[in-house]
């Protein structure tokens, strides 16, 4: 069996004065295909190691972390694709709770600020609010976001202004509801983002597109929001 070296960020605020990197060596078996499989094995070896996980198939977005310098989901990352020693750190820019676990409060605060739900004050029809297939198609590439925070925490604009800049995940969600034909508050949504910080801190660096484990494109969605603002203004 092949052995693999890992260097993992460790920090327990209750006992450690400052964070440190701890080295591990693990035997990789035939069933250890994804990084999460190896992390689970490591957890059995050292139960003080902490990380989040849930569905283990790229749907829940719990195990976002910085893998060899790039944000990604442990459950979707092939162990074979990683160069050694594999450096694992928490998502950058968010407060550390412990080891690889970050405090996502700020991230979700921004997500909630864009009202991530359809607002429609017209009395509901008897069955459901229908959309044409073309209108529904506009939501493809938007609704699939699992809020793992890989994109927002790789965005320098979000690092500098996490309290004011909505971030790529929030803006992708914002466009998802702006694009939804069943939503009735498009103008209010644009007003909410017409601000030098909330939307226009995006300088099209495109780190978000580079890291998204679901292969979504927040930069394109942000561009579409800007297009709509121009359309409204001129």
């Amino acid at each position: 069996m092949k052995k693999m070296r890992f260097s993992i960020y460790r920090y327990n605020p209750e006992t450690d004065a400052k964070p440190y990197m701890q080295d591990y060596e693990v035997e990789i078996g035939p069933k250890d295909i994804k990084l999460l499989d190896v992390l689970t094995k490591l957890k059995a070896m050292d139960d003080t190691l902490s990380f989040r996980r849930s569905c283990r198939e790229g749907i829940c977005g719990s195990d976002g972390m910085n893998i060899n310098g790039k944000n990604g989901l442990a459950c979707l990352t092939d162990v074979a694709s990683l160069s050694e020693p594999v450096a694992l750190r928490p998502l950058p820019g968010l407060p550390i709770v412990r080891d690889l676990i970050v405090d996502m409060t700020q991230f979700f605060k921004q997500y909630h600020s864009i009202k991530p739900y359809v607002v429609n004050n017209t009395p509901a029809p008897e069955r459901e609010r229908l959309q044409s297939p073309e209108d529904r198609k506009e939501l493809d590439g938007l609704y699939e976001c699992i809020l793992c925070a890989c994109c927002s925490t790789s965005c320098p604009s979000f690092w500098w202004n996490p309290d004011k800049f909505v971030g790529p995940a929030g803006l992708l969600a914002a466009y998802r509801f702006i694009a939804d034909t069943r939503d009735e508050i498009t103008s209010e949504r644009l007003d909410n983002l017409e601000d030098p910080y909330r939307l226009f801190r995006c300088h099209t660096i495109m780190n978000c597109v580079d890291v998204c484990p679901k292969h979504l494109n927040p930069t394109r969605a942000i561009g579409k929001i800007k297009d709509l603002m121009v359309k409204r203004a001129v």
């Binding site: 604009s157 983002l193 601000d195 800007k226 203004a233």
Partner: protein, 114 residues
């Protein structure tokens, strides 16, 4: 005063558009200048003949104005990203405006030979 995070200044789109429009003006001027440099006689005489035309001076002045507006949005973005205390940021904004306005006045003097 309570310490609240406030956003909603409503000038995001305007500045974003200004930055893009001024970039287009600067690009067009640069391309035109390169073309002129290729065809005009080299040396002092060539430059003098080029800037004897009023419209060349006008285009130069407009481009310099575009450059200063572009720089204003860019430099202010840097202060907004990296300088957190509001008082310090305001001082830096004012100093940037003073510097850019001074540059503009000096550019008028240079371009029009006043």
């Amino acid at each position: 005063m309570v310490n609240r995070i406030v956003v909603g200044a409503h000038y995001g789109l305007r500045d974003w558009l200004v930055q893009r429009a001024t970039a287009v003006i600067m690009l067009a001027y640069t391309l035109a200048l390169v073309l002129f440099l290729l065809v005009m006689p080299s040396g002092f005489a060539g430059w003098k003949a080029l800037f004897a035309c009023s419209w060349v001076r006008l285009l130069t002045q407009v481009t310099l104005l575009a450059l200063l507006l572009h720089a204003w949005v860019g430099v202010r973005d840097i202060w907004m990203d990296y300088v957190k205390p509001v008082g310090v940021r305001l001082v830096l904004h004012v100093l940037t405006i003073l510097w850019l306005v001074s540059c503009f006045i000096y550019s008028v003097k240079v371009v029009w030979g006043l």
